[in-house]
Amino acid sequence: MEKFEVVVVGAGLAGLSAAYTLARDGIEVVVIERGDYPGAKNVTGGRLYTQPLQDFLPELWKEAPFERAVTNEIVTLLSPDKSLTLRFRSDEFARPPAHSYTVLRGTLDRWLAKKAEEKGTMLVAKNRVDDLLKRDGKVVGVLAGGEELEADVVIACDGALSLLAEKAGLKSPGAAQDYAVGFKEVIEMPSQAIEDRFALKPGEGAAQLFLGDLTKGRFGGGFLYTNRSSLSLGLVIRIKDLAEGNPHIEAPQFLDEFKERPEIAPLIAGGEMVEYSAHLISEAGYANFIRPYADGLLVAGDAAGFSLNVGLTVRGMEFAVASGVLAAQTVKQARDKKDFSATSLSAYQRMLEDSFVLKDLKTFQHAPAFLNNPRLFQHYPQMAGDLLQSLFTVGSRPKQKFSTTIREKITWSEAWEILKDLRKGLKI
């Protein structure tokens, strides 16, 4: 039977960051990936924020194949026939290394895998890990493609569904309340067209989030990220809301209708849809965080529940990189002590607590409760549209004072509801 010091399951950002760190320090590591190549099964919205990563593999990110530096943050509220857009541009976001970059995982993951391989990581693609290998209740390796592969420690980075964390007894199958599905199209078009349509300087990018009628009151929203020569356009909707929504609408229809909106159609006109993908997203924040270690096992990235939606920012990839690096550091310490028991590996939890990973998840642990409010997804976008319609309209009758218009649109009981929601929002 083959034996490695460390087996990493899954060549995503968590797994590859762990492998890179281990291999760099001379530790024998193999990454097992079920796709044809790293990234083949991976999907992001999406973008990566660089500042949380300044302490995690900083030497790497300077040369990463990012798409565009996001200098324009755009939020759009949609009602059935109106929309209100807030666009924020910042030179500060452009200063290198830029604050955040749009990314495509097909490019990014393959590049990171190459870096890890250069350090000595062994990569085995086209192999599914079927189970954990256990002896006396301890994880001692994996079963992959019918072969047993032993290891001192296994790092499970097998994504948001993490069947391995389930098999290890660390996680129960997720609830529809706690997960959303993101689905998107990648639409190719010349970079010049992207820069013209979004009014961008060369190389700069925009990230646009949409809230309101596009999800018909369901928890979720839309996103549009500008890549170098493509757009990533998609939706995120909570699974429970898709399953129970009234009236019932099939998921793909939301995206088809979104694409026909006048706010979107001109932006994608003439572009060529080249890929349609979907991915699971943990939406419960800190509540979905599991115990990320057991005897002979560590769990990192989405698999451990590291994902955070606070409305304006939706993050996961920085947590994946950081937790992968921290898992590798834990392995190094455990290796020095020659002790891979759960007690020894529990140092990982403390490292996570001292890092932005668990600090951010804890700070924003009330965000899911605030976001779990149907008014946010239908009522407020609608109200904003109605109010602005009245303020901008010059009709046939003499125009009333703005204050009168506002008082008509926002009654006392409405104002009271807004205050209550704001109070919840202030807990974030």
């Binding site: 079920r34 796709g35 044809d36 190549y37 990234g39 083949a40 099964k41 991976n42 999907v43 992001t44 495509l104 995982r105 097909g106 490019t107 993951d109 693609a125 086209k126 192999n127 599914r128 992959a144 493609g145 948001a160 569904l161 069947l163 199958p173 997720g174 609830a175 529809a176 997960y179 599905v181 689905f183 199209e185 990648v186 493509s230 699974i239 898709l242 399953a243 129970e244 929504g245 019932h248 609408i249 099939e250 998921a251 793909p252 229809q253 088809d256 849809m273 080249v274 890929e275 349609y276 993908s277 979907a278 991915h279 699971l280």
Partner: protein, 94 residues
């Protein structure tokens, strides 16, 4: 175009490597289980549908391997696994 043909067109853009075995199947006897209905609405690839007998059917071709149906319906009604290595969807952009 009907919704189904639109989706087939979309999925046709993806790179898929065919597999001999189905990695997700409805557990025998559960075809009419109400829990399966959730997948009809939640599957982003629209692969679940209800036939005239009131049974839910799954057309596995085009599966994006996202796991939504496993969360939506649960493992009592679905026998769910990822495809074996080297088959299924291979995202080029992601």
């Amino acid at each position: 175009m009907s919704p189904t043909s639109t989706m087939k067109g979309k999925l046709g853009k993806n790179v898929f490597k065919p597999s001999k075995e189905r990695h997700i199947s409805i557990r025998p006897g559960f075809e009419k289980d109400p829990r399966l209905k959730a997948a009809i609405y939640a599957c982003p690839a629209g692969l679940y549908s209800e036939n005239s007998k009131g049974e839910v059917e799954l057309d596995i071709d085009g599966c994006l391997e996202c796991g939504t149906c496993r969360i939506a319906c649960g493992t009592e009604v679905l026998d769910w696994n990822y495809p074996i290595g080297g088959v299924g969807v291979q995202f080029r952009f992601g």
